[in-house]
Symmetry: D2
Subunit: 309 residues, 4 copies
């Protein structure tokens, strides 16, 4: 199946987009961030960045959406670049076996979040990057990283979404304060939370995100953002922890590392082959894009791509 | 790095075995199974089955040891062959975020174990295979499967180890009775536990296990035991759940699917390249082979093999 | 209100029985013990043993029912008499904050149950009494204790109920095996479980139980079964732990120590005044008699009795 | 023993104070509130308010200390007076089976704290009283209530202690934000936390607190602050929940309702007989005064007072 051409892949994406358009049960957009609650759930987009810079896409692949937790992947890359393995003193690397915003695990583990992709862990990562820096510096670095990785300067933060999330950030604040109580938050809670909601409020299209993920897929011709050893490790974390308590199911059904966001996007890595982004705003019970996960399962079946053989 | 020859790999294994022999802190053998407690912790073996039937090995690779939980991989393959996806009504596919023998999760999830590789899940798998069969039939099927996969008829159950484990099986019995209380155990508890302790008491050498795992690695020339779609799924489960609450760490450090056993063995799959078995009886805090995990990290670094790029 | 005469109390009981007869929502009998599932839920009885040997009663107060967990109070009295404070090495004295048959707490506390009135704790108590004795000896001692306390030899074990509970004792067996795994069960699990289901299957009437509880109420003229210091401690445990995770609510509404059983009985102690037993087979969500709890709240209001002022 | 005179009780208190002065292992003051960490642990005081307005005392009974969580009792009385039973929509009445500042239970119960005496529950009570009022009004009402109950106008808030607690209130803030995320906090978190740390920073002596608790003991001649039905209910909550996860032990050993504070005070109610306050700053593992609990056990033994017979 390694001989799939760009035209083959375009046809696969078209078929998937066609099938997804016909789906009735599309899940529901997240309601806890008011600005995201009224996104039109009928939208669906998918894009794939291939070796040599080519991008194939279908559906609403040029529509910007809120990347939300997909930002955690890029922030992790930045944090590892800045702090190296000392980051792991503040956050673990194990699947949590619990929901994305659970606080139970934090009490059990004395303020050390299980991994960088649950909310508590992402707050610890952001807090670690913030050390000695202002929020705007950190957000500037994230935007530069994304723009360079995507090869596209038109990537911005939607400040209305950030403000909307900040106004209802009680649960994330509880996580942050709980970590602070254990000495695992170094900056003022409001500063870390404020930075976090802005990183989540970055808006990108499927095409932009697919391109931004090329460095993780190691597709020939992609910008080299981090070392290949680090790429593997980030991919390992995406595979084991990228979909909260549905990570095992995604690995089983799709077989590729991925990271979902509550905005309905999923960034997926097919090592050596492609970086893929799918988006549909309706979520399933675990908080992942319902059609996005279905589309990726179809894509894996159609291409035969899997890291598992 | 794809051009590594058998001679290159032999040299890598020799270097690893040499380094492991010098390790002072080797962990301690499991004590809860009396027959395993007095295994000599100075032992270390590693073997690798390559395309075309070749096997390279180093250290005590021809010494039989108790495969224990590595049997769960083969029993899962048998169960999926017999029951297909209906198996997933009785056991989940998510990392548990807890120890191998935790009962907390079972109460939370009303008797449905998180995945087939924690003890409760393995008991559910064995129970599912038992349906309408006698324990000796099921154990016979497991031995046939292992012998065919390994291409070696000299694979047996150590009945003294089985008896030793049965005599101290309180915790596994608690798990089984708890599932029975939720209707998720169909056979008499003693029958399921009895079968389980015997499957765990299979003895194999590193060389035998490496050959038996070839079908998961899909190395050319290996016997085709299950479909390639199923192979991928079993590998996905090994990667996300194969090392209990150290699964994420193994994925991060080694980057290959693996399954550990309390006897000190770890079966590892490098898709398309090799099936690997490493063994050393001393365990770390998570109940996985201490030197085995270290050796696999060295092996991954030396070969560059990883499913993640 | 301390001047209530037996005639006053008789009238209060009559009014309560009358009101309870009119209740439509009566809860449902326990279904997990098949023999108890078909008890007629329309029944209601209440009896009160007063100073000087007098008993007042109303409703079905002369109908025998399965005392179930009320037996835990008497077994605790026997265990403290035999073992003294060394009993508390095997079981705690704190409310559990969880359901009667939860196993989560056991894992957290390494096999030590929170208190003697949850199932795990009662199993530890029975196991402690069993040490060096046969089940029939222990059950004989319980019957002697009950008969002496009640002043009535017509108290027996319903063996059909015991057999019915034993056949479905998976969850209690799980608790016992889990404690055995932590070294907190000394006898064979089957022996402890067998004794436990028989102690639960004692049948008594409201009148018999009210009389049997006189020693806890310390009403003048009652047989002295244990020291007054020990009486206070048993009463304290009943108040804090006697109704599982509804113990706080019972203390708040009724204000008297009590112990409920899944057979629908509740034994209540009004220190210095009366020993009371109420019975109605339908249970509420916490596994306590629905009408029994309501009746006791009415009784407390009508009499003004409370340990709290 | 009901014939104990004030002189008898004075002698008992003197003996207890003498014995406590000789204790070597006195526990350690709370360290998480910096202002409390340097309180001299050698101090010990005890006072008892008797019928007719008499007070007997021994040791440092006239030294003011920080009442901390003992304030929760009085705030509960105020909240019940203002809101009646609607308060119970926001907080439960069950022992928590967990530490005073656990957040695990809050996640399990969707933001409804188990009882008003753990921190989360007390925050809910304060938040309920705050509704439509300013913090200074609520604190004014608390001080008026305490002064009237104690018959003493010299009761104040130590603002340095409040500021010290506020500066390190991460864990309480986490609890508050978590409740806010579930809609169970109605005022701005900072307002509720700010009021809470000030109510905890009230300073009183043992003599003042003993007098302030008379209405709970219902000793003849005490001011009637709330109805007798409500008194019983508050006492019930103190008995089942007043010492966090040592409440059962206190009920077992002492047999009287009590509420401890992290400042080292314990307020204890002997219904109809006396209101008692004991204080010593060193705490045990459960966060209750180590010598205070010992002294109360001695007092209960010496007087024979117990609500349990």
């Amino acid at each position: 199946m390694d001989t799939l051409t760009a035209a083959d892949l375009q046809q696969i994406l078209d078929e998937i987009a066609h099938a997804m358009a016909a789906e009735v049960d599309r899940g529901a957009p997240a309601t806890y961030i008011p600005e995201l609650a009224h996104v039109d759930p009928s939208q669906f987009g998918i894009a794939m960045a291939l070796p040599g810079g080519q991008v194939v896409a279908a559906g609403d692949a040029a529509t910007p959406f809120s990347i939300q937790s997909i930002s955690k992947v890029f922030m992790l890359a930045i944090a590892l670049g800045r702090l190296g393995d000392t980051l792991w003193q503040r956050v673990g690397r194990e699947p949590s076996g619990a929901a994305f915003n659970s606080i139970v695990q934090l009490e059990h583990d004395k303020g050390i979040p299980r991994n960088p992709f649950i909310n508590a862990g992402a707050l610890a990562v952001t807090d670690a990057i913030l050390k000695g820096h202002q929020p705007r510096e950190v957000l500037g670095e994230l935007l530069r990283f994304l723009r360079e990785a995507a090869g596209d300067d038109d990537i911005h933060i939607n400040r209305a979404v950030a403000a909307s999330e900040q106004a209802t950030a009680h649960r994330n604040t509880a996580l942050a304060e709980f970590m602070a109580a254990h000495g695992n938050l170094k900056n003022p809670t409001a500063m870390t939370i404020g930075t976090y909601v802005h990183q989540c409020a970055v808006e990108m299209t499927c095409e932009q995100l697919a391109r931004a993920g090329r460095f993780l897929a190691g597709v020939p011709g992609s910008p080299r953002m981090v070392s290949s050893a680090r790429v593997r490790r980030i991919n390992a974390l995406m595979l084991t922890c990228g979909h909260y308590d549905a990570s095992g199911d995604f690995a089983y059904r799709v077989g590729l590392p991925g990271k979902s966001g509550v905005g309905g996007g999923i960034l997926v890595v097919a090592p050596g082959r492609a970086s893929i982004c799918v988006w549909s705003p309706g979520l399933n019970a675990q908080g992942n894009s319902k059609l996005g996960a279905q589309a990726m399962e179809r894509l894996a079946r159609a291409t035969g791509w899997s890291v598992f053989g």
